[in-house]
């Protein structure tokens, strides 16, 4: 029973273990190849969590979050080179600035794109993405296709990756913390209500347009901050990599794979798929073969596990442990159950029928 419906304390212990592993990982594994992969994994875990908090919760699939990643990357790169910063830790102070820039940009984009229906929204985010990629290639201050070269970090070569790893880990922890709060909040319920039945939510007094926009902006901020850390990490950015066409598809796949709309799903999906992708790139001689493997995986997940891996595993376990009919509460992996003390609700002392109705 506890496996299926973990109690608060088991959840806490699990979370604590996860944080310990996250913090201790670079201390245990110091092979640079491994820590590089780990750094990318942590970055994408944060990005997928943020993306999911909008697209997974509302059902509005954004294929334009690469705009916020690229904006974050360019914000840090251009400010640090503009100020002639000479690397080191002070450059990380620009990460929040990059987050603010991404969030600010998300306001007008969301304002326009969210006026449309779900399918149109997807198309508009793609169009916006290409506009920004073109801008990065053609505007003077972005240095076009030449790219921007940053001052090197100048950290000790033996554990060069660690500052980037830990910076990303901080963003990951903050993002998960924020999304956990959102999921159990009234705002979170409103997002799920929009996903399930938008017009009905509207008629029940939910300020649908505002709620969607706030969620969109909140999801853009961590993506921008990770973009900034990424730029500093690789040291040299080009428009087609900072604004990568495959970015959103990859992130969406991570969320679908792990479990769209859940809290752990995107973290799990990003960890598995990013590690797999980095491993495949390193070990396969044909550079883009991983894209084919990715595509096949995507199809397999959609067809075989439409709810994602984690929710499906959970369901399987609950089916084994609790025979027929007892698993109703697990049919809805993405319901925002966490915050509401429902169990206690059902046990409440009987109330006089309709006393205060």
């Amino acid at each position: 029973m506890s496996l299926v419906n973990p109690t608060k304390s088991t959840k806490r212990i699990g979370l604590l273990l996860a944080v310990i592993v996250l913090v201790a990982f670079p201390l245990i594994f110091n092979n640079p190849t491994v820590t590089t992969i780990a750094t990318y994994c942590v970055m994408y875990m944060a990005i997928a969590t943020a993306w999911n908090s909008f697209s997974g919760f509302t059902g509005y699939v954004s294929l334009g979050h690469a705009i916020f990643f690229g904006t974050g990357a360019y914000t840090l790169s251009l400010i640090s080179t503009g100020l002639n910063m000479s690397g080191g830790f002070p450059v990380f102070a620009l990460v929040p600035v990059a987050g603010i820039a991404a969030g600010a940009l998300a306001i007008p984009i969301g304002f326009v794109a969210l006026r449309t229906k779900r399918h149109t929204f997807v198309v508009i985010t793609i169009a916006a993405f290409f506009i920004f990629q073109l801008l990065a290639e053609n505007l003077g201050f972005t240095k076009g296709s030449e790219g921007v070269t940053l001052a090197p970090g100048g950290f000790a070569a033996s554990d060069y990756n660690n500052p980037f790893y830990y910076a990303s880990a901080v963003i990951l922890i903050l993002t998960v913390f924020l999304v956990w709060h959102i999921k159990r909040s009234r705002f979170g319920l409103q997002l799920f209500a929009i996903r399930d039945e938008e017009s009905r939510a509207r008629s029940l007094g939910v300020k649908v347009d505002r709620v969607k926009l706030v969620s969109f902006v909140l999801s853009a901020i961590p993506v921008g901050m990770i973009g900034a850390i990424w730029a500093y990490f690789i040291g040299q950015i080009y428009p087609q990599f900072a604004f990568a066409a495959s970015f959103d598809v990859t992130v969406a796949l991570m969320c679908f794979f792990g479990g769209l709309g859940t809290l752990a799903g995107p973290v799990f999906g990003a960890l598995v798929l990013e590690a797999l992708q980095r491993y495949l790139v390193l070990s396969l001689t044909i550079q883009n073969l991983y894209l084919i493997i990715y595509g096949l995986l995507f199809l397999a997940v959609i067809v075989l596990l439409p709810e994602g891996v984690l929710p499906s595993i959970k369901k399987q376990i609950s089916k084994r442990l609790l025979p027929t009919g007892a698993d109703v509460s697990f049919n809805s992996p993405d319901s925002a159950t966490s915050g509401i003390p429902q169990a206690s609700a059902a046990n409440k002392e009987p109330v006089k029928e309709g006393k205060a109705l």
Partner: protein, 260 residues
């Protein structure tokens, strides 16, 4: 009766057409406060369209809607809901992937800034108490943790009623509450409506189940071809030949008379 002159809800000469079809044709109706009013009429006579016009789901081309003496014509559905008019749909609209209890919290109206609404857990203890009370009232408390999508058709109708009640509307518009609901549940539904009415809530109910409407309602309006052509007590409506006309069509009705 003062209610006649001082209507709680009044629609005056509403008109709305879809292509060539006049779904509402100079339609007028008055609802008295504290009463259960029925709205009947054959399929396609414009009942749902009238609900849509009142609740802001559809604009009307002509005419006006008044609630408590104020014009509410052209207001949006959320504004109308905020004024205290709740409605259910002929085809239920519940939040299928959320639990029954989560459905209950969508309509809670809380004054709080967006930041607080993001951070604070949904459902204060008073809201929870109230949700429990209402779910108990409609008999769905046992299913509080189930996804709403797993409810039967009749249970969905009850949930739709329940999640509106949490916002404490003064006027409830129910579009075919008994449609597709099993007999024992229909009786219960009637009891619920009567009980809520005794607490002061006003109802306007569209329903095809004649027994249900005629035993429950204080007053019944009959619609045909986009307008209300008669209003009366249930027993008047039951015996009025024009009502039969409307349902059967005039030709059929004359045939029925001629045959014997």
């Amino acid at each position: 009766m003062t209610a006649e002159t001082d209507a709680f809800l009044e629609v005056k000469n509403a008109t709305r057409s879809y292509g060539g079809v006049k779904a509402l044709d100079n339609c007028s109706i008055k609802i008295s406060e504290g009463k259960i009013t029925g709205l009947i009429g054959p399929n396609g006579s414009g009942k749902t369209t009238l609900f849509n016009a009142i609740t802001g789901y559809e604009s009307i081309e002509g005419g006006d809607v008044y609630f408590r003496g104020q014009s509410i014509t052209g207001k949006t559905p959320e504004q109308i809901f905020a004024l205290g008019i709740g409605r259910t749909f002929q085809l239920t609209k519940i939040f299928a992937r959320m639990t029954v209890m989560e459905n209950m919290f969508i309509a809670t109206q809380r004054k709080e800034g967006w930041l607080r609404s993001v951070i604070r857990p949904a459902g204060s203890s008073e809201e929870l108490d109230r949700a429990v009370e209402i779910l108990k009232f409609v008999g769905l408390l046992k299913l509080a943790e189930s996804p709403a999508g797993s409810l039967s058709y009749g249970q969905r109708k009850l949930l739709e009623l329940a999640y509106i009640l949490i916002a404490d509307p003064t006027l409830l518009l129910l579009d075919e509450p008994a449609g597709g609901v099993n007999l024992s549940l229909i009786k219960e539904l009637g009891d619920h409506i009567r009980y809520l009415n005794s607490l002061g809530k006003t109802f306007l109910i569209v329903e095809h189940n004649m027994d249900f409407v005629l035993t429950l309602c204080h007053e019944v309006n009959v619609m045909s071809s986009g307008s209300v052509f008669m209003t009366g007590k249930p027993e008047q409506v039951r015996s009025d030949p024009r009502v039969l006309d409307a349902y059967l069509g005039i030709d059929d009705f004359e045939e029925e008379i001629v045959v014997p």
